[in-house]
């Protein structure tokens, strides 16, 4: 019997010790943390084929999008929990500073009745939409192939709760000043049956049940989010500025800071997927499959933003340019 070699201490985790440079804090605390991906046949230390094991085998392990080393994915922003709170506490201080100032100036009293009506129709129902993004991001978190992907999805989940929170807060403020307009009461009906929202709701309901983890990521981060960020955030924000609602314009911009961070990691993950050339066609298939629903959603919503006549056109163009820039 040959004596096994005696292992020596390393400067970092064994799996990072091959790299030429010192690992960053981000790498030390974020890499190789999913163990359920280790045994493709049996995700858990349980029966290999009970119902949840089958779910993970089918929708994660057997996804048509393959990569030999998902753990090599890195968040381009290298966000860790500690920095996430630093960033977002600062952002929230800014947003709540705005809310405070505008409320002191009695901003809501000065809004025109027609704009107030439009806010009730096109703005405050956003909380259902944002919550669906929150739920959907949490699905990607639990199904992703690597912890570095899950972490991006975790912070994205929380960001969507942030957007939901801003919307709920504004809903309560508007209800105080414009009691008769139905703020806090009518959003669910709007979300369920207003033609401005129907196609968006169809898109997000169907997107939420696209269970393959890679399709789930594609439909949320490459289709749903860029579409609604163009329509219900950016275009609505522009419309707000043209109606004297400076506050909503600034709030929208603040949320788009999160959105651009989400786009950055999405771009990085697509790049990772495209390291395997065979993946390109499947990604294109999904984009072709989902774009018609996305276009319908953008068109239906934007037609009511009369002050921004090219809102739909520009929103769709932005999504398509994003795809083209990814090579899809």
């Amino acid at each position: 019997m040959t004596m096994p070699e005696i292992l020596k201490p390393l400067k970092t985790w064994e799996h990072l010790s091959g790299a030429r440079r010192k690992p960053s804090e981000y790498e030390i605390v974020s890499t190789n943390l999913h163990y359920s991906t280790d045994d493709q046949n049996s995700p858990f230390e349980l029966d290999p084929n009970f119902d949840i094991a089958l779910w993970f085998k089918k929708y994660r392990n057997e996804s048509p999008i393959k990569h030999p080393d998902w753990n090599s994915f890195r968040d381009p922003d290298e966000i860790v929990y500690r920095t996430y709170n630093l960033i977002q506490d600062g952002q929230e201080a800014y947003v709540f500073g705005l809310l405070d100032q505008f409320s002191d100036r009695e901003h809501d009293k000065a809004l025109s009745p027609s704009w107030v009506a439009l806010l009730g129709r096109l703005y405050t129902p956003n909380r259902y939409l944002f919550h669906s993004l929150q739920m959907h991001s949490a699905y990607i978190c639990q199904m992703a192939q690597a912890s570095t992907i899950s972490n991006c999805a975790t912070y994205q989940t929380a960001d969507h709760l942030r957007w939901l929170t801003h919307t709920a807060y504004r809903t309560a403020e508007l209800a105080k000043v414009h009691g008769a307009a139905g703020f806090g009461l009518n959003e669910k009906n709007r979300w369920l049956s207003d033609p401005a929202w129907l196609d968006i709701r169809e898109l997000v309901e169907k997107a939420l049940v696209a269970w393959d983890w890679a399709e789930s990521f594609v439909v949320l981060n490459l289709i749903v989010k860029p579409s609604i960020e163009g329509a219900t955030i950016r275009s609505l924000g522009e419309s707000a500025r043209r109606n004297g609602d400076t506050l909503l314009g600034l709030l929208s911009d603040a949320q788009l800071v999160d959105a651009s961070r989400h786009q950055k990691w999405s771009r990085a993950l697509v790049k990772k997927m495209l390291e395997q050339d065979e993946n390109r066609e499947q990604l294109r298939v999904w984009i072709r499959k989902w774009m018609p629903l996305a276009k319908a959603a953008i068109n239906s919503y934007c037609q009511y933003l009369v002050e921004v006549p090219d809102a739909a056109e520009r929103s769709i163009a932005t999504v398509e340019e994003f795809h083209a820039s990814l090579g899809l």
């Binding site: 201490p9 030390i28 163990y35 405070d100 709920a168």
Partner: protein, 501 residues
């Protein structure tokens, strides 16, 4: 200043349920991922999380907490604790990080399951903070041990352990996977947050934190007490879920989930926390015995929270309470004897003074567990070290994946609790473990314990060398006695004073 009070908008932020029309309700919340025992989603409108917070408050408070935890670490960086602390204490740190860090990450996935598939918006929002919390706990408990990597290869196991087939890692994964990572959202709310977090994490985090402060390890003490402040918040996701189930005629089923959660968590704490507190913590710094902690946290406090919810105590309560007296002593023997197969150096913890303490806290210890240690001590003193090492594996429980063991010596009660199921014989450590299997055999049926794998020829060669290779543990990282057997010197001087008893 005109900022609205949280109560003025909180409810709006949790009115986010709607009935889908483009897909069915069952498609959006599939039974396999949501669970819920057939209680329809409208009944969950009553769900009301008792601990309320909001996004801006969360990021502010957590930023401050992290500043605290990391600054304590920075301030103490140059303190030579690692060089001066008792080796038993260092072993606690290694077993803690290896056993917990990636389990925290699995808890993040479980919180994400509740965020996506939880039936109530309040649950989904609270679980979003829970995802962030568990992300924090993973990162803290990797960042802190990482600095020790360059001094001691065993610290690599903070991230490595869960990726191996080392036996304690298998047992830990079994518990984590069965109680939360492999469960539906509602079961997670009950088994993870109510049973595991409300019942048990207090012990690991507050119990060990006070031991850490006693030892002078303020970095670890402040780290884990900071973690526990998050746990005590998101642990409250489970209580209102139980209330909804009980209100809708599912008391018996809800109780069963709680009972499974407690039984699973108990095994893990028994093997990790029990030996940490009663053997690895230096005697001078032990404030309470593991049993006393169990009595305070599980009988004193957790039993109260069961009763408050109108739940009956588990059928096995007396059996479980009886185990407080012996089970972790049996696991300690196993950990020490099979020390080349674990990623930390267990302290024997059986100097004459320590035996007096054990006898005082656990009357009869010398006559039972002490008898086994007598043999080990004789061999160590006589230099027959080969007799103190294992040659193969013990019989493992098909539920806990831990050795089947109990009281040796004059109190002998070791017994296998077998079960025939679909042509295979399963072995269990207790009636409780066998009952767990019977609750949902399909979850466990085709799983093989390490011994099953050995017998099936999956581990080659089928000797201790092959087993260590299969476990991916090698010299330089595998365990040995924490004090390099120095504790045995007391017996070399006077071999007959084995105990004061």
């Amino acid at each position: 200043m005109t900022i609205l009070d949280r109560s003025e908008w909180y409810d709006i932020a949790r009115e986010t349920n709607w009935t889908p029309t483009f897909v069915t309700e069952e498609e959006l919340f599939p039974e396999v991922m949501t669970g819920g025992l057939g209680v329809t989603r409208d009944k969950w409108e009553k769900y009301d999380e008792p601990y309320k917070t909001s996004y801006p408050e969360y990021v502010k408070i957590q930023r401050e907490k992290d500043a605290g935890a990391y600054s304590v670490k920075a301030a103490l960086e140059r303190n030579k604790l690692f060089e001066t602390a008792d080796p038993g204490w260092i072993s606690i740190l290694k077993s803690h990080y290896g056993g917990l860090a990636l389990g925290e990450y699995a808890a993040m996935s479980a919180e994400a399951r509740m965020t996506r598939f939880g039936p109530a918006p309040g649950m989904r929002n609270m679980a979003t903070f829970g995802m962030l919390d568990e992300n924090r706990h993973t990162q803290l408990q990797l960042y802190f041990p990482h600095e020790h990597c360059s001094k001691d290869r065993q610290f690599d196991w903070a991230v490595k352990a869960y990726h191996t087939n080392e036996w304690a890692a298998i047992a830990t994964r079994r518990m984590v996977d069965d109680l939360f990572l492999g469960r539906d959202a509602i079961s997670i709310a009950i088994m993870l947050t109510f049973a595991f977090e409300t019942g048990f994490t207090n012990m690991q985090f507050l119990g060990l934190s006070s031991d850490a402060a006693e030892v002078g390890d303020y970095t670890f003490s402040s780290l884990i007490s900071s973690i526990q402040t998050d746990e005590s918040r998101h642990a409250q996701i489970g209580g209102p879920a139980l209330e909804v189930l009980i209100a809708n005629g599912k008391k018996a089923e809800a109780e069963r989930m709680v009972y499974q959660g407690i039984a699973g968590a108990w095994r893990l704490f028994c093997v990790l926390t029990g030996p940490s507190m009663d053997y690895n913590t230096p005697l001078a710094h032990r404030k309470h015995s593991f049993k006393e902690f169990m009595q305070e946290w599980i009988i004193g406090q957790f039993e109260r929270s069961l009763i408050d919810l109108g739940l009956d105590l588990p059928w096995y309560w007396d059996k479980l309470v009886a185990e407080f007296d012996y089970m972790h002593h049996a696991y300690q023997l196993g950990l020490w004897y099979w020390r080349p197969t674990i990623w930390w150096n267990p302290a024997a913890g059986v100097t004459p003074d320590e035996r007096d303490w054990l006898e005082e806290k656990y009357p009869g210890w010398n006559d039972t567990f002490g008898k086994c240690w007598d043999v080990i001590i004789e061999n160590v003193v006589a230099g027959r070290m080969d007799k103190t090492y294992p040659e193969t594996l013990p019989i493992l429980c098909n539920m806990s994946q831990l050795p089947i063991c109990a009281i040796p010596g004059n109190g002998w009660n070791v017994k296998d609790y077998p079960l025939e199921y679909q042509g295979r014989t399963y072995h269990f450590n207790s009636e409780i473990d066998r009952w767990m299997f019977q609750q949902s055999p399909e979850r466990y049926r085709d799983h093989m314990s390490l011994v099953d794998r050995l017998l099936a020829g999956q581990i080659q060669p089928p000797d201790i060398g092959g087993i260590l290779k299969y476990m991916n543990i090698a010299p330089g990282e595998c365990g040995d006695d924490a004090h390099k057997y120095a504790w045995a010197d007391a017996y070399r001087v006077n071999p007959f004073s084995k105990s004061a008893a």
